[in-house]
């Protein structure tokens, strides 16, 4: 199932609504990198609230998605990592190093707005 990517101003919002297959994740990465260019996005929020498992493959792919977006000129914030998922990532020794995270969509958008303000 493809991940819908919505546009709000110069920000893209992608809500991952169901458990994604590996192929879906890679498709999402490519779609996002393209869409950042077509809508000239400066910020991306990826909402993973609905994901009850983030294994090492998904985590590293999400991190790669954020780095790809960065190279395309957009800042990514990953929001909605569930408490159990956060604990599991710590146990696995995985981090989203260099990628911003926020509690939820609202906080993520606020973080992007603050970063935009700081750039001015």
């Amino acid at each position: 199932m493809p991940v819908p990517i919505l546009k709000q101003g110069d920000t893209l919002i992608a809500s991952i609504v169901a458990a994604l297959s590996d192929d879906d994740l890679l498709q999402f990465r490519d779609d996002l990198a393209t869409k950042i260019g077509t809508v000239r996005a400066r910020g991306v929020v990826v909402d993973v609230t609905a994901l009850d498992v983030l294994d090492s493959f998904a985590t590293r792919t999400l991190r790669g998605i954020a780095y790809t977006a960065k190279l395309r000129g957009a800042e990514t914030v990953i929001v909605g990592i569930q408490p159990e998922v956060a604990y599991t990532l710590v146990q696995l020794g995985l981090t989203f190093e260099g990628v911003s995270t926020a509690l939820d969509l609202e906080e993520g958008l606020a973080l992007l707005a603050a970063k935009k303000q700081a750039r001015k």
């Binding site: 458990a19 297959s21 590996d22 192929d23 009850d52 498992v53 983030l54 294994d55 090492s56 493959f57 590293r60 792919t61 790669g64 569930q82 408490p83 159990e84 998922v85 604990y87 599991t88 146990q91 696995l92 020794g93 995985l94």
Partner: protein, 132 residues
Amino acid sequence: MSELKIQIEREIDIIAARQAGRQMAGQLGFSATDQTLIATAISEVARNILIYAQRGEIQLEQIADGTRTGIQVVAADEGPGIENTDLALRDGYSTKNSLGLGLPGARRLMDDFTLASELGHGTRVTMKKWRR
């Protein structure tokens, strides 16, 4: 309780296996956190089956030891086997250049972890987690 077997042949089978594991762990009274740890460990070993052996099976079973209740997860395949099992359990080691943490990742999430492999005959990972 029952035993459950999930065939791993396609990518979506990974999701089915970890959801079945979470459900069984929930029925056995594991906490939400432990359910997530178990589901994630299953995801790691199931992906390993696909990457290295193309197909195999995840077996889920309730286990008991005295008064303790637990869940056992077996990931079995008849793939090429692992030449060096010590190396396979080392962080960052991968012969397929995959993004997954695989075996060392799964080991960190479970209480008990054993790896048996025979070249040309397959690999069997047995993992246990006990309810606290």
